[in-house]
Symmetry: C2
Subunit: 132 residues, 2 copies
C-alpha cells in the first residue's frame, strides 16, 4: 500500500494523481517546483520500479518538464532523484533561472522554503493542470 | 554531430559508448560517480530527446545505478540532470553514503574534486564495465 512520506506531505501541496505518480507542488514560492512520487509501496531507487512503471514515470517527468518550461521563466529544467533524507522514491522537476536564489547551484539543501500565499499556490496548480 | 562539452571532457574519464549515452567516470576519487551524455547533437533538456532515445537513456541510468549499488557502499543512488553550468544534456548517477563529504546534501557544487590516482581509476572503470 502506498503512503506518502510525512516529510513530503508537509513540504508540498497536492496537484493530481497521474498514471504512476502522485504530482505535488513544492510549497516554495521562489521556484516552480514539481515533485513526482510513484504510487508504489516501498520504492526507493528507480530500479525498484518495474520497467513499464519506469517508462510511465519518465513520460510524467517529461510532461512536467515541458509544462514548467511553458509556464515559468526557465533557463533550465533540473531533474533530480536524491532521497538522502526522505527514502521514498520521488523525483524533483524544477524550473531554474539565473534570478532564483540558488542559481547556478542545486536547489536541494540551499535555503528554507518561502511558502506560497494560498491563492497564488492554487492559481499555479490550476495553470499547471491546464497547460498542454 | 555530437561533441562532448569541454568541461565534461575535462572533469571525467571515458568509460564506454552505450547505445545512446557516452558513459563517463567523474574524476573524483571520493565518490563512485557516473555521467551519461546522450550522443545527440544539441540536446539540452530530457524532452529534446526522441521518446525511443529517452527510453534507452532511462535503461542506461538504471543499469548504471544497479552496477554502482553492487560495486560501492551505497546507501542511496542520486540521479540528477541539472545543466545550469554545462548546457549539454548529461545525467549524473552517484553512489551516496553517510561517509561521503557532501552527505546528506547534493554533490553538485559541494567541493572541488580529488582526482583519482590513475591505476585506481582504471581499476574502477574495469570493475564497472564487468559488473553484471
Amino acid at each position: 500500500m502506498f503512503d506518502l512520506h510525512p516529510r513530503l506531505a508537509a513540504d508540498t501541496a497536492f496537484v493530481a494523481d497521474w498514471a504512476v505518480s502522485r504530482v505535488l507542488l513544492m510549497d516554495d514560492a521562489r521556484y516552480r517546483w514539481i515533485v513526482l512520487v510513484p504510487r508504489v509501496a516501498n520504492a526507493v531507487e528507480l530500479h525498484d520500479l518495474t520497467q513499464p512503471d519506469r517508462a510511465v514515470l519518465l513520460d510524467e517527468i517529461v510532461k512536467s518538464s515541458e509544462r514548467l518550461k511553458r509556464l515559468a521563466v526557465a533557463t533550465k529544467i533540473n531533474v533530480g532523484a536524491l532521497g538522502n533524507l526522505v527514502p521514498q522514491l520521488h523525483v524533483h522537476v524544477v524550473a531554474r533561472s539565473p534570478r532564483d536564489p540558488a542559481w547556478p547551484g542545486p536547489v536541494w539543501g540551499h535555503s528554507s522554503a518561502v511558502p506560497y500565499e494560498r491563492p497564488a499556490r492554487d492559481a499555479f496548480i490550476r495553470e499547471f493542470l491546464n497547460a498542454h
